[in-house]
Symmetry: C2
Subunit: 246 residues, 2 copies
Amino acid sequence: VQAGDDLATLIADAAPDLRHGDVVVIAQKVVSKAEGRVRALASVEPGTEAIAFADDFGKDPRLVQVVLDESASVLRAERGVLICETHHGFICANAGVDVSNAPGDDVAILLPVDPDESARRIRATLRERAPRSTSFPPSGKDLDLGVVISDSFGRAWRLGLTDVAIGAAGITVIDDWRGRADAHGRELRVTEVAVADELAAAADLARSKDSQQPVVLIRGAARYVTTEDGPGAAALRRPPELDLFR
Amino acid sequence: VQAGDDLATLIADAAPDLRHGDVVVIAQKVVSKAEGRVRALASVEPGTEAIAFADDFGKDPRLVQVVLDESASVLRAERGVLICETHHGFICANAGVDVSNAPGDDVAILLPVDPDESARRIRATLRERAPRSTSFPPSGKDLDLGVVISDSFGRAWRLGLTDVAIGAAGITVIDDWRGRADAHGRELRVTEVAVADELAAAADLARSKDSQQPVVLIRGAARYVTTEDGPGAAALRRPPELDLFR
């Protein structure tokens, strides 16, 4: 996938059996490539801060500069790790900048500028392209399918990465059970399920890191698919006033 | 499920088609109930600290006392939320203590004392009980299946809960790609996938919070099933020396 490629059409061509109720989970990297969100390190002029950090930790100062350019703030810079808040408001290592699986050694891949907008745009094309199921209700509506754009994030207190949603359209991003009753009729108090993140995690199990399978189709999760695009993965970002650990 | 029930036998009875390569994901709450890890609040005498916190935030001081009893330390106590490190080393809200779906209003459900040991014990029984598949290699071995005990945890910078593994046996808990090559032959540098957490998250999508379905069977993830019990979910706990946010 190269800059300018129509990723949604590539997906529709590759998934002729796409149908009502499906969720399409797309790895961030291929979305970024299609959107031209890459930077050649040869063109990057590292500043003082980037050079200082790179010296301390044995990193490429040009790559550090790209990370800083993608960051609204840096929460931690320790043991060679930069934990950043991106301009979108995601908190993750290296502001989501990655060089693995890049077309060349000297290219950094950035997060999409607006991953929710990317998801909405891809969804619009998939809805046009995919055949409408005649067997699934509601028959009179447009094809309803969900799109998740996923990336691998670390966690503050758990080792290992899990895939989470950085963009979403057409799915219930958070399934809010607050105020609803549990099986004993008691009110559930703090149960908001981050469905979009669980869909991203489930999709990650279906591929391996060297398989070059950027898209996973989830079938059987139709109850999370919505007609409207919805709030997107932006709804998963914890606002600063609810953040206890910044 | 009541204290003393043989949960593994109940699961084996309910899943006669359990087979080689399956992963059985069990909600923590039912494991705790079977192990008698409940406390009647009527028997709890709250101390000064619990009373003070309960007064500040309008909580039941007896429940706060149970949370403190289950905690090795309290990381944050703000806006009615106690973020605790449990005696196991898990960091989560209220030390994993929950009252929803409890058999009565005045009972708190605690995490299992050793969820990895719970997973190993359940796995041992399932291996004995489930018929060995004759069609799946390796034919000469014991039935290899994985067990995950899941609970819903919040995240420092993302809204909503996702299910994670608090106990595990017979699965690859972290799939470590460090040192292996990506699709372009480049060495992958920091890719450790928290497979056990992704399995827990995937299972959560298959049920709803009021469905009283404490067990989900995952089929098709056999490549993560191991012959040995393995390190368990303990391997997912970030050690204090790698913790940037405590």
